[in-house]
């Protein structure tokens, strides 16, 4: 039972990480949105799996919220913005695609190194996925840093949030539900603010390229 659980959780984490790495390969906002939606769906399944094997019904509740927020609402908003601004393409990120991919490989290696103490300390069957979750956090951070479009940066941020949720559920079978719900609320609000800003950026700069923002220096 435990081997099946641990295999499923590691497998699920790899799939979730792969959706994160897909971002680095793809260019169009639509592909970003799709990758995020599928990743969130996989994350929902992960919560269900851990809720079932870990005997924790609270996780089912969290999974429902997760599904509504990250599979239904946020991608819908992203799609609406895509329709509004046209399909934005990340045609020239600060780091080109091949290098990004190679670096993401290194980032995952780094995540393995960093999370080594966690894996050694823990005796949960899900511990195998911890490095992958940390890797996803790093990959999300990398997307935020290296992409130029405001919208793709937002998706990078959301992916990073997914990584954190995955880390939490793998490492602890879920943080206390009240905190979890608060986090969802924050993600939603943060997203809405960013979305408002994307509209502002678009109307002020007539583009959502953030490298146009270079007015403020000294």
């Amino acid at each position: 039972m435990d081997t099946l659980f641990s295999q499923l959780s590691t497998l699920g984490s790899s799939v979730i990480l792969l959706f994160g790495i897909t971002l680095l390969w793809r260019k169009s906002l639509r592909a970003y949105t799709d990758a995020f939606r599928w990743q969130s769906a996989a994350l929902t399944v992960m919560f269900l799996i851990i809720g079932y094997f870990g005997n924790d019904p609270e996780l089912y509740v969290v999974a429902v919220f997760l599904f509504i927020l990250k599979v239904l609402i946020l991608p819908r908003y992203l799609e609406r913005m895509e329709q509004r601004f046209g399909d934005q393409r990340e045609s020239q990120p600060y780091v080109n695609i091949v290098t990004s991919l190679m670096l993401s490989g290194l980032l995952v290696l780094l995540a393995y190194v960093v999370t080594r103490p966690l894996v050694l300390v823990s005796d949960l069957p899900t511990r195998g996925g911890l490095p992958l979750a940390m890797g996803l956090i790093f990959v999300g951070l990398f997307v935020v840093i290296t992409r130029k479009k405001a919208l793709t940066q937002i998706v990078g941020f959301l992916v990073m949030e997914n990584g954190i949720a995955l880390l939490a559920v793998l490492g602890t079978f879920g943080i206390p539900i009240i905190v979890e719900l608060g986090v969802f609320l924050d993600v939603l609000m943060g997203f809405l603010v960013m979305q408002v800003f994307v509209y502002h950026i678009h109307s002020t700069f007539e583009s959502i390229d953030v490298d146009q923002m270079n007015k403020l220096k000294h």
Binding site: Q7, L11, L18, W25, M102, S104
Partner: protein
């Protein structure tokens, strides 16, 4: 003695199946595109036709041009002796492990690229340079992904890997295996010149990779090269099928087991053939600049495969 017999019959089987596999993929593709399609044994007729024709050669061609087809064919054929097609372990296991397999395949690619350059035509040179671009990323990816399997099994010997998976079936679902499978699948498409990297049925020289290198070949040379490339397709499919889903492979040399092994091999090849045909129908060819990105992706997959099988041991 039976072992040697097995080896030779395995190689012979691969030789015979290869054209049929190519024909099968073409046929499925045709059906998916609402065409009737040529019968699946069409490649055999092509081979017979080509072997029957005279060779026309450029005046500038050197001995390299003449030798290359034999080397390409021989290296592909040699690989069929070394990989577990219908049975494991094999008597030739000690001759070569996965490194030998990878570099035999690279040897063929290398000579083909040389031959493409040899005649000094524009398209040949273009094809060679493109092929080398692809191979430079594809080869380490294959090596890495098979390494990730080797790490799990504790040996670089292909048969050992297969047997290890057979005795411990849970491994087949581990992330290391799945990532390596995805990596090798992408690389197989690149190495065997399929979409989205190269279009095997293209007639447009500017987009060619593999076809551009062999534009100058004709007659029996072309036959050998075509046969070798079909063989390569078979080899990659067989590696994909048997390394990751080894069930059905004969572990004892009984006639019944061998018969089952042959049938399952054909079945697995057919399934992969259908998958490739569907993929080729669904997607368009990538722009050449995007190809290194795709291969980079598969390299990362392979790297992750190695990482996870190394660190999760």
């Amino acid at each position: 003695m039976t072992g040697y017999l097995l080896e030779f019959s395995q190689a012979l089987l691969a030789l015979l199946l290869a054209p049929m596999l190519a024909g099968f993929v073409r046929w499925v593709k045709a059906r998916l595109q609402n065409r009737r399609g040529a019968p699946i044994w069409q490649p055999y007729f092509e081979l017979a036709k080509l072997f029957g024709k005279d060779v026309v050669m450029s005046n500038n061609a050197s001995w390299l041009f003449r030798v290359a087809p034999y080397i390409v064919f021989a290296s592909a054929l040699a690989v069929t002796f070394l990989i577990p097609l219908i049975a494991a372990p094999l008597p030739f296991d000690n001759i070569g492990d996965l490194l030998v397999v990878v570099y035999l395949l690279l040897l063929g690619t290398f000579f083909l690229a040389l031959a493409g350059l040899d005649t000094g035509t524009a398209f040949g040179g273009m094809g060679s340079s493109r092929e080398m671009t692809v191979a430079a990323i594809a080869e380490p990816t294959i090596a890495l992904s098979i390494f990730s399997l080797a790490l799990g099994a504790g040996s670089t010997n292909l048969s050992h890997i297969v047997v290890a998976t057979l005795t411990n079936p849970g491994v087949a679902l581990s992330p290391g295996h799945l990532l390596a499978f995805a990596a090798i699948f992408i690389v197989s498409l690149a190495e065997t010149g399929r979409l989205p990297v190269d279009n095997p049925s293209t007639h447009l020289e500017l987009t060619m990779i593999h076809e551009a290198m062999i534009l100058e070949y004709s007659g029996r040379y072309l036959a050998l090269i075509e046969w070798a490339s079909w063989l390569k397709l078979t080899i990659f499919f067989a590696l994909l099928a048997n390394l990751f889903v080894p069930w059905g492979l004969a572990t004892a040399l009984t006639p019944a087991a061998l018969a089952i092994a042959v049938v399952t091999l054909i079945l697995k090849l057919a399934i992969l053939g259908v998958v490739v045909a569907v993929v080729e129908t669904r997607i368009a060819k990538l722009r050449l600049f995007r190809v290194p990105e795709l291969l980079g992706m598969s390299f990362v997959l392979a790297l992750l495969a190695v990482t996870s099988s190394f660190l999760l041991k």
